[in-house]
């Protein structure tokens, strides 16, 4: 596995590999089984797999966890090597965002709600870094986890709107056996918080069940979800919502392809999760 840090190094490598079918997995490191499932899919579809590790300062708010975000560099590299990654790109922040850097890419409507409300500059940071990375790597396919569902939609829209010649592949959320969605931030959780955190996936699962059983009134479903999420946990729900899976607009009646989105706080730690569900056919 090759490790490249400089932009010029990557560009040079890329020009020498013009004919490869490149699969790209952009990450912020602190890799877990969720990332490896992305890498495995890239490995399956593509002749060359590139992973980037870059803790992108632009997508963190001023009061967020940028400085303490986990950076287990050595073990991340080792795992990538063992997973058959061909090239690991670890840009340096000073070169990636030099002093005169002043551009921004934004996806307007899809970035407004939900995570966009909670983290006002977050998605502009994501779309800017992803645009840069896709321009550098020029992959045929790039792999993103469903775990960050709104991010996935925002990036799909970005790629479509800006005519970036990369297919965005959605990969299923990987969960612990008890249902907790894998996340680099899970390592912040104490044992007790780890138990409480289960309320989020349990609530989403319950919502999915109710919809599958034919329940339609979103307000009622949300009330039941909230009950489960907060039952005997100290979790502070930011939102628990049922939306159109394509545009993230909230629904009042369950119909079509939906996504149930949730965000919650446990102390300083913010967790998100989501599940997709389709309204049952009327019999």
């Amino acid at each position: 596995m090759r490790i490249i840090r400089s932009i010029r190094g990557l560009q040079g490598w890329r020009r020498k590999h013009e004919n490869q079918i490149i699969g790209f997995v952009p990450t912020m490191g602190a890799l877990h089984e969720g990332h490896f499932s992305l890498i495995r899919q890239a490995r399956k579809h593509c002749s060359t797999v590139i992973v980037s590790i870059f803790v992108n300062p632009l997508q963190f708010g001023p009061s967020e966890d940028f400085s303490k975000y986990p950076r287990p560099v050595k073990s991340d590299q080792q795992w990538c090597r063992e997973s058959g990654v061909d090239l690991l790109f670890c840009p340096l922040s000073e070169e990636f965002y030099p002093q005169d850097f002043q551009s921004a890419v934004s996806v307007n409507r899809l970035s407004q709600r939900w995570e966009g409300e909670a983290r006002p500059t977050h998605f502009d940071g994501v779309t800017t870094v992803v645009t840069k990375l896709l321009n550098l790597v020029r992959p045929s396919q790039a792999y993103f986890g469903q775990k960050d569902y709104q991010q996935l939609l925002v990036i799909k829209q970005l790629v479509q709107d800006l005519n970036i010649d990369t297919k965005i592949v959605r990969c299923s959320t990987i969960r612990e056996s008890d249902g907790l969605a894998l996340s680099s931030r899970n390592r912040y959780l104490s044992e007790n918080q780890r138990r409480q955190a289960l309320g989020l996936s349990a609530a989403l699962r319950h919502g999915v069940q109710l919809i599958k059983l034919g329940k339609q009134g979103v307000r009622g479903i949300q009330r039941e979800m909230k009950k489960i999420a907060t039952k005997s946990t100290g979790m502070d729900i930011e939102y628990l919502t049922i939306c159109d899976a394509n545009n993230l607009e909230p629904l009042t009646l369950a119909k079509g392809n939906m996504v149930l989105l949730g965000a919650a706080r446990l102390g300083d730690i913010r967790l998100i999760d989501n599940m997709l569900v389709k309204a049952p056919k009327k019999s």
Copy 2:
């Protein structure tokens, strides 16, 4: 010469020509000798020359001349054919900006001043369309006229910031023999306005002369420039300024590489022009 209107058509063509050195001249049509000098340079450097013609609605303000902007489609095509253009890309607005289009690209600091103040949404429109076009065409080199100097710097910054793999080539402003910079908007000028418009280039030329003669005080130079620009003309000066040629910050003392920027109105018509000059070495 091939003419392509659809995005998919262009992408298909581009994939079949992966190994070409592509020179790209993006235009809004109403082609004049300035555009042809860009095309000639592309022709000289590159194996394939692509010209785009697209009157980009995003870069016009609500009270500007989008609907009446000249669109001499047939003669533009004829001129391109005769100039050895290989491919003319004329996207359709409905496909280029479909209903769900919602992304924007911006270059923040360089876009603020001068044209950015006069036309607040202009540069975001330019950077968004140029990003899309560069992603579609993927040229080795793209050619822009010095006539729109601030636009040139904004696009250079964009390409650097977003790691777009295209070299931006600056081409000199082409002028009529009496000094008027060529512009598609010149065709709006009445005979009388055409005469008055000369005040702008005359003022810039005078400023360049004063600097070359060693005059340093910018305020004094600007005063003389303004006198020339408004002498016996009905021209309404928006700005006449002497800036650092790299970052467009206004100077108080002439030094280093400078650009003299001017913008003026004649009735409804807005004209811009600029000249580069270097401070003389002290003897």
